[in-house]
């Protein structure tokens, strides 16, 4: 069933080891890279939205503070 007598034979690929493993290796590598890049991109985009949301929240809070500060002098009288 198995075409090769031993592991050593498998890795040797009948003398064509360099070409076969180069091909399979680069294919696997390229496919892995683009998948990984896509995942990283996704995380980065989510992070971008989160950062913006937090910024907006901070700005909102700051504006609230400013409004409270300006109304206070009236009440302290």
């Amino acid at each position: 069933m198995m075409q090769f007598e031993s592991w050593a034979d498998f890795w040797a690929m009948g003398g064509y080891a360099f070409y076969v493993w180069l091909s399979f290796g680069v294919a696997l590598g390229a496919m892995a890279l683009i998948t990984i890049f896509s995942v990283i991109e996704h995380k980065r985009l989510i992070k971008q939205v989160v950062t913006e949301q937090q910024r907006k929240l901070r700005i909102q809070r700051a504006q609230q503070q400013a409004r409270n500060d300006t109304t206070e002098p009236d009440r302290s009288n």
Partner: protein
Amino acid sequence: MWKWLHPYAKPERAYQLCNTLLPWFALPAVVCLVVGTMWGLAYAPQDYQQGDSFRIIYIHVPSAMLSMSTYVAMAIAALVGMVWQWRTAYMAMIAMAPVGAVMTFIALLTGAAWGKPMWGAWWVWDARLTSELILLFLYFGVIALYSAFEDKQQAGKAAGVMALVGVVNIPIIHYSVEWWNTLHQGSTITKFDKPSIATEMLWPLLLNIFGFALFIALVTTMRLKNEIIRREMHRPWVQMLVKQKETNDAV
């Protein structure tokens, strides 16, 4: 007949569809690729002429075939975007492009690696490899044109035109390159074209073709999600989605 497709013109629905489809692409892709590759590497017989270097076919043929079908799919997405004015169609188009380009690159590299033991040279201007190289240029063109525009609506339309011009040219390029090849190289028939293939070799090949196709669908879906978020970042549904994600992660 196509009414069921219409809701996916809205990015939000398309995003949900992507999420649903992801596991259906991921699992079968991994299974097919692992089984197909192992079968081809260890169990399929070697070619009596080319020995074990023939096993490269299990990567080269799927990637070459799919590099072309992905371009056609890209062009179809562009056409859908143009005719029905669907933003999501253009987003799908640009999501596919880098994946197709990677496939083309793999086809070129494995083609060269296969050719070196066969013909003694890393690069020969045979019809198939030359056409793949031109296809790679076409992919780069679409990607470059899209990134040159700030307004991504415009970018989609412009890249869509080039994708369509490209797809019309692909058969012309193939025919002319094949013809040019026979002119300049006599009648060397490459083993790339229609290798006489035994059934023990056919099954792992089909599995890998299927596996590669699923892989392309998987990564395209992931990239489509990214493109949707990028373009729709300020919409309330995206904001809600991210907030939910955050609370889920915090839990």
